[in-house]
Amino acid sequence: MTDTLVTYSNIAVYSAMAIYALAFIMFTLDLSRRAAAPAAVPARVEAVASGSTAVLVEPPLVDDAPTKSPRYLRAAMALTILAWALHVAAAVLRGVAAGRVPWANMFEFTLTATAIIVGVFLVVQFWQDLRFVGAFVSGFVLIALGIAATNFYVDVVPLPPALQSAWLVIHVFVASLGTGFFALGAALSIVQLLQARRAAGKAAGLRFLDTLPAAEKLENMAYRMIVVGFVLWTFTLIAGAIWAERAWGRYWGWDTKEVWTFIIWTIFAGYIHARATRGWRGSRSATLAIIGFTAVVFNFTIVNLFFKGLHAYSGL
């Protein structure tokens, strides 16, 4: 029974990866289409120059461009949704097979966290059109799943005593959710940096940028993502401390994983401050957001695999 479910789960993972790959191609084609299309709107420099409190010029969305309907984009989104459904199914089947939440070792963390990242990406669309970071999201998730399936894969095993806690459910889930928002924030910040370079005349050639929001608008969107991520991360930190108190007998011990969670928290606190500090808005704070997300990925991979500490739950 368990074996059958695990087999189905693995088939679903590989199918999802194949479809994410297609989605990634479509997202990329969409970006190149944007580059090819005559710029539907002039560069919106006026928005860049506007004050800190206002986004005076709402840049027209891509869809408004009457020249070509974003066929690739729609296909890419449909594929992403399909891949995500399979991806979630894979995680759920894995959880059912194991009889517990599907995030107790590196393979399962990656499986679930990437599903959450895509979930955040999809849900946020209802509220703000962020489809232009689809290539980033699908590409990132594809690579992460690929590494997990080939390098982190482990069989379903029961939970060791230290992991048998409601905090496993809460702490890890919220951390993954926070990671999803940080990922989107980083993606937006990358586009923002490109856009700022372009506005400064340093990035000629990236013509698809013409169809994307201006740097300041991107900065505001990134900020909103990261702020949500930051609240979730703060909660993760506290929930982790409560759990550490139960399982290891102290709420804070500068264990390597604790150190890195703290470093990430501090970097993003720095990011939020940078946004409020004269001279640090714009590209500098965007760089901090990207460094912060890099630290998240580092914490999840290098620290898990190569650093010694109490969080030895990679299962590898």
Partner: protein, 538 residues
């Protein structure tokens, strides 16, 4: 900055360098000591300094994750020093093995918190004033502000103003009428949340400090059938806080009746993996009646202002050693250190007295022994399916008499000669429970009597732990409030034109990130118009 210029008497106080604050002229320190002090203080409490210190703190935390720390991994530190004889002394000088209590790390976070206090106090004071101030005068021209929109309606100006004011009041704004306009402001909670957040951070730091200062932690290995007491002498190791006094130790005892592990046996991929650990104990608090309790991983025992954690376990074989006349010279459990997941364990026994010579033993205990091709043993399951102990024996000088405290879990072979084991004529002694053997050289006999388990218990007392949690909850609450409550101003202006038609103007101003402002102003305008001229169903 393209900040519209308008009255700022209810603005929040902004630290120097805040993008929203007036750009202060470059200030040369005024001559004199006080002048310098004031200059220095202003620099320390500026946004740029706060940012710099935050980023510095993040960087300073990195080395401690690359190099083992005395506090969390003392054996790792010893090993690291042995492996890096060149680098280790330098790192030691730089306090890298104790990064998080090092002078430089402490300096950074203390400066950060001084900056934080210097930042929070004036803001709090200003915020209290702002709470009592009236919303600012309506700007002369609303056109340049956000979400600017106009409507026109019939009616008289006074009613229009009053209706707008009532609408805004209901929406949670504080309002003030200036001539033919309403000035409204909401979201003071945003600044309140921000101040609660920063103040709670200070609370966390102070509570952690107090807890560490007055608390203590102690470790004790207890074998099944034995007990520990909460007294200094009873602990194997004890770490008091700086302000610890003996009176903080509430007298109690914990007797370990049994330790029951459960191991996976059906799932082949996880064969032998621990599923559950339960220590069944009897506790006696302040000489009261004994009570039964259990301690599990993730479920510590709460007793006498302490938490007692089950952090480790293993085997403690009981060996009985007799001299040639049959007198018992040693009969007690020896806690053996687990070496691997199947609990192959390393046992050290020292017998300074009782036999003709000082005797030391290094043993390996295998709970489920299986022979390997080369004749050595290994354990293939953590439970006792086929328990065997194998002992190498030594005679000579154990080095216990020189007054230097020695490690119970290590045997120095410097002045010892092997009498049983691969390097001597007699092979290592191998025993299962119930078996006995003669010691070499006619020293006596040894019996493997039984094999109880031991648990290692960690006892923690932290008087401020609840406070840390409370401040942490305030941190989150303050954060959510300050990040998600918009702080905004809204104005409604009424002008009547010659033909009796009212020209209504609406506009807003965001204080901080406020994505919903335009929509909020438009909605206000529509609802205002609805109230002034209720739609008549056709």
């Amino acid at each position: 900055m393209s900040q519209p210029s308008e009255p700022t008497q209810t603005d929040s106080y902004r630290p120097q360098g805040h993008y929203d604050a007036a750009e202060a002229p470059i200030q040369q320190p005024k001559l004199g000591f006080v002048g310098y002090l004031r200059f220095f203080w202003r620099q320390l409490t500026s946004m740029r300094t706060a940012l710099f210190l935050l980023l510095l703190l993040a960087i300073a935390a990195i080395p401690g994750s690359l190099v083992p720390q005395v506090s969390s991994d003392p054996n790792g530190v010893i090993q690291y020093k042995a492996n890096n004889p060149e680098l280790a002394p330098i790192l030691d000088k730089l306090q890298v093995f104790t990064t998080y209590s090092s002078v430089w790390f402490s300096a950074i976070y203390l400066l950060l918190f001084v900056s934080l206090i210097g930042c929070v106090i004036p803001r709090t004071k200003h915020h209290f004033d702002a709470l009592r101030a009236r919303p600012p005068k309506t700007p002369a021209r609303l056109q340049r502000l956000e979400g600017f929109t106009t409507r026109s309606a019939a009616g008289d100006p006074a009613t229009a103003v009053e209706t707008a004011r009532a609408l805004l009041k209901r929406a949670g704004y504080r309002t003030e009428v200036y001539d033919d306009s309403v000035s409204a402001e909401r979201g003071y909670l945003r600044e309140t949340g921000n101040l609660v957040f920063h103040t709670a951070l200070i609370g966390v730091l102070v509570a952690v400090g107090i807890g560490g200062g007055f608390g203590y932690t102690g470790q004790r290995v207890v074998v099944e059938g034995y007990a520990m007491t909460n007294t200094l002498a009873s602990y194997d190791s004890f770490n008091p806080g700086r302000f610890f006094t003996d009176s903080a130790l509430v007298p109690y005892s914990i007797a370990v009746d049994s330790f029951v592990p459960t191991y996976e046996t059906t799932n082949i991929a996880a064969f032998g993996q621990p599923i559950d650990y339960v220590a069944n104990v009897r506790t006696t608090l302040r000489g009261g009646d004994p009570q039964d309790a259990t301690i599990k991983v993730n479920e510590p025992l709460h007793i006498g202002d302490t938490q007692v954690y089950l952090l480790g376990n293993g085997y403690a074989p009981v060996l009985t050693i007799k001299d040639p006349d049959g007198n018992i010279v040693f009969s007690q459990p020896t806690a053996c250190l687990p070496q691997d997941a199947n609990l192959t364990s390393n046992c050290i026994i020292k017998l300074p007295d009782g036999l003709a010579e000082q005797v030391g033993m290094i043993g390996f205990f295998y709970p489920s022994a299986v022979p390997l091709a080369d004749g050595t043993l290994m354990s293939n399951f953590p439970d006792t399916i086929n328990p065997v102990i194998s002992l190498n024996m030594y005679t000579g000088d154990l080095g216990l008499d020189n007054g230097v405290g020695s490690n119970a879990y290590a045997l120095s072979l410097d002045n010892l000669t092997q009498i049983a084991g691969a390097a001597s004529a007699t092979p290592a002694i191998k025993l299962s429970p119930g078996e006995s053997a003669d010691l070499p050289d006619g020293l006596g006999t040894i019996e493997f009597t039984s094999v109880p388990r031991f648990v290692s218990l960690d006892v923690h007392h932290d008087p401020a732990q609840t406070w840390v949690l409370l401040f942490a909850v305030l941190v989150v609450a303050g954060l959510v409030t300050s990040l998600f409550i918009p702080r905004r101003r809204v104005w409604v202006k009424v002008a009547s034109s010659a033909d009796g038609v009212l020209e209504l103007e609406y506009a807003g101003l965001a204080r901080g990130d406020d994505p919903g402002l335009d929509a909020a102003v438009a909605e206000l305008a529509d609802r205002h118009l609805d109230q002034l001229a209720p739609k008549v169903e056709p």
